[in-house]
Symmetry: C2
Subunit: 198 residues, 2 copies
DNA sequence: AAAAAAATTTAATCTAGATTAAAATAATGC
DNA sequence: GCATTATTTTAATCTAGATTAAATTTTTTT
């Protein structure tokens, strides 16, 4: 709505680059996608990408940072809206998945961590760890308020996150499918959490 | 127990190669692992691998075929032992996960499909599709016998399989963790399926 | 213990694709 | 319209790592 006036052309273009890259990485993996693939997708030649990004590794890195942002925002939003722990979890799942399959595309490649250089890898893993901890916290809240049945939060978190992270592997931008995922996944993933009454 | 007399040294060594390769691929991805990595892991030099395998692509391919075998066997075993649909699902999950985190190692890389050449990719995708269909069939059996609540089998299958396929991404051979996964995952993943009474 | 076959090695290619450099084009401010 | 800055291109490197070839060692057979 707002003119979004700033966000120089540079920033915008850079975003497009990231999005295209994420798309490719998700489909063909880090090795499978050449910079040429990404560039062509935008009607550019490969060297042009170096204007926006230091190198290929940084491309993955930036995708990750954005993915982490997305996840964090979804979670904060869900928490801010309150409700029982279970409700928060359900909402978080929906928000996160919505972005994941939405028009902004799967900026979230979650499979290419090994491709990162150590410093970046550590940073990304830390972000991921943080996200997991926050999710586990939500589960605990739910257990405390009686909406979620007692469970091993670590394993439950791993199970649910895995399911979400895997989505880009099989979903490739079909609108009908996107809707189905958003409608179904939160329920499927959270149904097993509920305590009898909920 | 049986002398296992045949299985020429060749076959055995080839198995070791596949296992090592799968391990590397899971940890560092297709691009991230060089043939040298795999070879060194076995105390060999890279060219030696060509004695067992046509090329790198075939290495991934064979890993997939084995992964598919593993999944299929787990499923057949679970079905063979009968019980309600829900029980079959639970058992299948346990068997499959057991192998996945077990000593045979995660032969199951499920992330490198894009690296396969078209012919192999098609074959592997077909195996995967088949597996999914079989799983969906189990769900339907459960819905028919009243052990599983009505659900969208396609989406439910995707959710559960994703969670399993993601395991190799974060699990790297810690025995305690392995036990925890086997103990917890089947429950976590199947709890949401049960119809009230079960 | 020689010969044949199996397994692996060292040394030599070969290539895709990332990166860099230099040049060209487009956009913007004045 | 000119100068400056932004963007992209074409042409030129450079390198890791896959693959192949030839040579060597190890194992098996008889």
């Amino acid at each position: 709505m707002a003119p979004n006036s700033d966000e120089s052309r540079f920033e915008l273009q850079r975003d497009r680059v990231l999005k295209a890259a994420a798309h490719c990485f998700n489909q063909k993996g880090y090795s499978g996608t050449s910079l040429k693939d990404v560039a062509n997708m935008l009607g550019l030649t490969d060297p042009a990408l170096y204007y926006y990004v230091r190198n290929k590794e940084e491309l993955v890195y930036l995708c990750y940072v954005r993915a982490a942002d997305v996840g964090r925002e979804a979670m904060q939003k869900a928490v801010a809206e309150g409700g029982s722990g279970l409700e928060q979890v359900r909402r978080y799942l929906r928000y996160h998945i919505e972005i994941m399959v939405g028009e902004h595309g799967p900026i979230a490649i979650m499979s290419e961590i090994p491709s990162l250089k150590p410093a970046h890898r550590d940073e990304v893993l830390e972000l991921s760890r943080q996200h997991s901890l926050n999710f586990e916290k939500m589960l605990k809240v739910g257990m405390a308020d009686g909406s979620i049945a007692s469970c091993d939060v670590r394993m439950t978190g791993n199970a649910i996150m895995g399911s979400i992270n895997w989505i880009p592997k099989w979903f490739h931008g079909d609108d009908v499918m996107a809707r189905a995922i958003v409608d179904q996944f939160p329920g499927i993933l959270s149904r097993g959490l509920a305590k009898s009454g909920n």
